[in-house]
């Protein structure tokens, strides 16, 4: 029997089934829950590895199920889909380990891990979606499954954050739905196609297509935290650290950014989009968001809030990369999907460690913390340098390609945005590093948990170290096959600019 058509479905099921089982588990079945979580994550990674190998050798993985009379639920593993799937499957495993350590002894863990698995299921569905309605389906499922995670703490602040999150995302969802149905009524298909599927309609329905583009981008922009739809993200910081990691690096904002890539390349087609004149405003909006997010980050004293505004800024690199509408910039944008994920998840893990171990939430409390928790802060430093764009960390590669791509597409102004952003990133990250490494620690930390000779629990320390090493590795080994950069080039070659 040929299993290829079922593998995408199995990848989705490998987190869905453990999730559903975990919902049914009693709170105290810790070991079984851990096993289910890890088995699901490892199986998923294994399947993803199989598909990576297969795609590289031009295999074809596609699941099709009937959804509506003329529409199908399509899960298809192309190069771009796999980039995102690999990112989320890999980081899911790391985050699961982290979450098990982080939530040890806290209530409602079955509920938490159940929704956690659903959330990854939805993300993988978003990544593998082969048409816009499948994308929409998983995109909304993502909204629903992250809400319980955002309000997990159950405090008033958490509830308010959850409410804000829902208001933003439901409005976004409605816009996306409208755009999708409208597009369908014009084209009669929603299948993601290299170079888009609206060819031939540009002249007849020009204004409708322009409006649809902005409806879709606005709907996706809510999750991608594009200005002015970013308001929910800093508020959602009340959620536990693994959830922040999930929101910022693995799932939510990435799903939005990924969706924008899909819309530009596989719905409209980048040439058509440029001809419609919609990429330039998108590039401008992304550039503005980059600078705006960095400026706001500068003035936050709360560490997680600063990181949140930093995410708003960094994720827009992806939108900027595709909106420049040239192959090299696209490589930069797409590869940043992975790079930003690795760096930002490291930073959030570290922030979580500081909060859990020493009760540090504010930057002003971070004096000398590097001496108490050297490994954590080393990982943090790697992440921070990556965000600034300094070599040899992943962020440098992204910026290099974005810059080259902008020059190639005759859009020199982008260089100023990139330089400005790097400068601002340096301005809000370097003072943190300076405090942590070069100032004297206070007499007593707000809270102090001891873990023997280690600085913190293994399950908390290992994940940021792993992701920090990966953030270095993807940059140092960028020119080897299967590195994110090489894969992004493969995507550009096979999917976006296929002759």
């Amino acid at each position: 029997m040929n299993w290829d058509p079922w593998i995408p479905l199995l990848v989705v099921a490998s987190s869905l089934l453990p999730g559903l089982l975990i919902f049914g588990l009693a709170e105290e079945r810790i070991r079984l829950r851990t096993v289910l979580n890890l088995v699901g994550a490892v199986v998923k990674l294994g399947l993803v590895g199989l598909m990576l190998w297969g795609i590289y050798h031009e295999h074809h993985y596609e699941t099709r199920l009937a959804l509506l009379p003329d529409l199908e639920l399509v899960l298809r593993a192309g190069p771009l889909a796999l980039l995102f799937v690999t990112l989320s499957a890999g980081l899911w495993l790391v985050t699961t380990v982290y979450a098990i350590g982080y939530l040890e002894g806290s209530p409602h863990r079955s509920r938490f891990f159940g929704f956690f698995s659903l959330c990854v299921t939805a993300t993988v569905g978003v990544a593998l979606a082969g048409n816009l309605i499948t994308f929409l389906l998983f995109y909304e499922l993502l909204t629903l499954s992250t809400y319980p995670l955002v309000v997990h703490r159950g405090t008033q602040a958490a509830r308010r954050a959850g409410q804000t999150y829902l208001i933003y995302t439901f409005f976004g969802g409605a816009l996306l739905l409208l755009g999708t149905v409208w597009l369908y009524s014009l084209t009669g298909t929603l299948e993601f196609t290299p170079r888009g599927f609206i060819a031939g309609l540009e002249t007849e329905h020009r204004s409708a297509l322009i409006i649809i583009f902005f409806l879709l981008v606005a709907g996706l922009g809510v999750k991608a935290a594009l200005f002015p739809f970013h308001g929910w993200l800093p508020q959602a910081m009340v959620a536990p650290a693994p959830v922040s990691a999930l929101l910022h690096a693995v799932a939510v904002v990435k799903a939005g950014a990924f969706g924008i890539v899909r819309v530009v390349y596989d719905v409209f087609g980048v040439e058509t989009a440029a001809a419609l004149g919609v990429t330039a405003p998108l590039a401008a909006l992304a550039a503005f968001t980059i600078i705006y997010g960095s400026l706001r980050a500068l003035f936050q004293d709360d560490l997680k809030r600063r990181l949140a505004f930093s995410t708003i800024s960094q994720v827009s690199y992806i939108a900027l990369g595709v909106a420049i509408a040239g192959p090299i910039a696209t490589i930069g944008g797409v590869v940043h999907l992975v790079h930003q994920g690795l760096m930002k998840i490291t930073l959030f893990f570290c922030a979580g460690n500081l909060a859990e171990t020493l009760g540090i939430h504010k930057i002003s409390e971070m004096n000398g913390v590097g001496r108490r928790m050297p490994w954590t802060m080393a990982a943090f430093t790697v992440g921070a340098f990556g965000m600034i764009g300094a070599p040899p960390v992943a962020g440098f590669i992204s910026k290099w390609y974005l810059g080259l791509g902008a020059l190639e597409a005759d859009q020199g102004w982008v260089l100023f945005v990139l330089a400005g952003s790097s400068l601002l990133n340096a301005m809000y990250f370097l003072p943190i590093l300076h405090r942590a490494w070069f100032r004297d620690p206070p007499d007593a930390w707000p809270v102090d948990h001891h873990f023997g000779r280690k600085e913190t629990a293994w399950a908390l320390l290992l994940p940021p170290l792993v992701t920090a090493v990966m953030a270095l590795g993807v940059a140092l080994l960028a020119s080897y096959p299967f590195s994110p950069l090489e894969w992004a080039m493969l995507i550009a070659e096979r999917e976006f600019y296929r002759p």
Partner: protein, 488 residues
């Protein structure tokens, strides 16, 4: 043998079985519950059998002359895809509600509940199998009386008050309908729907009949602004009864309206279609806003029904140009709403049973003790909001698509806005599900059957989101709704 199976009169079983069970239940109350459960399960079989017959033997429409006397003298039974849809909805919700009711009622209440509930099932099934407008009247009246009795069963001032309003509304509605029937009978000498369809012309008498029957049925369907009786009745009845009222009883009146519209009246009224669409839109918005303003859970759900009924009427102005897609959307919404709304009311019943109240702001500690019930409410909510994956989403998608193809931006806006408002009122309740709250007292436990019957109905509503193709094909809706206006 082969013939015995294929020719088995499932349609008659659908009517006589619950009727007989009800009669025995009146006489021997102690058997009523057992009989009720057996009947509920058998109805699923019978409706599947009938569906199979319609599909493979009768080629889309089943017809049976009771006692060998055909129309216009005798009583005909008629079932096509639309009837099958309604019968299936009834049997599914009926099974869920029956299982739920086993442990819900106190002993004394149970003795009275089961016979009437079975009678109501018989009335519903008979209504969906009727082929003439007078039989429809008889079954409609029977249905209304059974429903009112069930509402009053709860006892207490609120329930009696609600039941009284309900009684007046339902009697008035039937009266109007009956006047319309009389007018048509007087003009054309028949009450058979098929015969009427051939004879009807646009005369003043027909217009008057349309107006009277329409008004009566709209009152019974509780379409805005004739919904005034619904919230008190649906909110004050006991949980299984509320579920049945919202999921099935008002849909019966809608079914009659749709049936008459499709066969008899549609050539008459562009204007009437627009009016119905307008009222539907108003119902969506008004009902949702009212639901959002409620402080009691059951009232919130009841107003949500007012809103959801509105969606069904949005199909009327769209059906002129695209009958199949508009009516398929309405049918799918109807089915998913029936499942989701009954799940919601049953879940609300659990919360009420557990905490002793349904004040939304104080639900926190109740909600946290009943994860299955909250799960049922949440999944049902997904379908009510029209979010994927759920039956509600499929219905909404079909409706949106049809509206967009016809450039009806007003309807598009109403659908999207209605979805957002629904999300607001569903999360007004769910927002309490995940908060930290101390448990004040150890309240009554909720039996597992009550939690699971709500959850399974909700899961069914969600699963409908993946089954659109087989479901639409099974009911053969594209044949029922004619070949005109198929998507280009």
């Amino acid at each position: 043998m082969q013939d015995a199976v294929t020719q088995f009169p499932w349609a008659i079983v659908l009517i006589l079985l619950p009727l007989a069970a009800s009669m025995i239940g009146f006489l021997l109350p102690r058997l009523a519950m057992t009989l009720g459960l057996i009947t509920a399960v058998s109805l699923i079989l019978a409706v599947t059998g009938l569906g199979w017959q319609i599909h493979y033997i009768y080629d889309g429409a089943y017809q049976h002359a009771v006692g060998g006397w055909g129309a216009p003298l005798g009583i005909d039974l008629y079932a096509d895809g639309l009837s099958l849809l309604m019968l299936t909805t009834t049997s599914l919700v009926g099974l869920g509600v029956s299982v739920y009711s086993v442990l819900y009622f106190e002993r004394q209440q149970a003795l009275r509940f089961w016979p009437i509930w079975l009678l109501l099932l018989a009335a519903l099934n008979a209504l969906f199998l009727s082929a003439d407008i007078f039989n429809l009247y008889v079954t409609l009246e029977l249905l209304g009386l059974a429903a009112v009795t069930l509402t009053a069963l709860q006892g207490g001032k609120a329930a009696l008050d609600g039941a009284m309003r309900y009684l007046l509304a339902t009697l008035l509605g039937s009266l109007f309908y009956l006047l319309g029937v009389a007018l048509l009978y007087h003009s054309y000498g028949t009450v058979d729907i098929a015969l009427l369809a051939e004879r009807v012309e646009a005369t003043p008498a027909v217009w008057a009949a349309l107006g009277l029957m329409g008004a009566g049925l709209l009152l019974k369907t509780a379409l805005f602004p004739l919904h005034f009786w619904l919230p008190p009745a649906h909110a004050s009845a006991s949980a299984p009864v509320s579920a049945v009222l919202s999921a099935l009883v008002i849909k019966a009146a809608f079914y009659i309206l749709l049936r008459l519209w499709l066969v008899i009246f549609s050539p008459l009224g562009e204007g009437a279609a627009s009016l119905l669409g307008l009222l539907g839109a108003a119902a969506v918005l008004w009902g949702s806003i009212q639901a959002l303003r409620q402080t009691r859970l059951k009232l919130l759900i009841a107003y949500s029904t007012v809103a959801q009924i509105g969606y069904l009427f949005l199909a009327f102005p769209l059906a002129g140009a695209a009958a199949v897609s508009a009516w398929s959307a309405a049918a799918y919404l109807l089915l998913s709403h029936a499942l989701a709304k009954s799940a919601m009311f049953l879940a609300a019943g659990n919360l009420l049973h557990f905490g002793g109240h349904d004040r939304i702001v104080d639900l926190d500690r109740v909600v946290q003790r009943l994860p299955l019930t909250v799960g049922a409410f949440a999944l049902a909510g997904v379908s009510i909001m029209g979010l994927p994956p759920s039956g509600g989403f499929i219905g909404k998608w079909l409706l949106l698509e049809t509206a967009l193809q016809q450039g009806r931006w007003d309807i598009v806006a109403v659908i999207l806005l209605g979805g957002l408002l629904a999300a607001a009122y569903v999360f007004k309740v769910l927002g309490h599900a995940l908060t930290e709250a101390a448990v004040m007292h150890e309240p009554r436990a909720v039996p597992k059957t009550m939690e699971w019957s709500a959850l399974l109905l909700a899961i069914a509503a969600v699963l409908l989101g993946f089954l659109a193709v087989p479901v639409l094909a099974w009911f053969g809706l594209s044949e029922v709704f004619g070949i005109s206006g198929v998507r280009t």
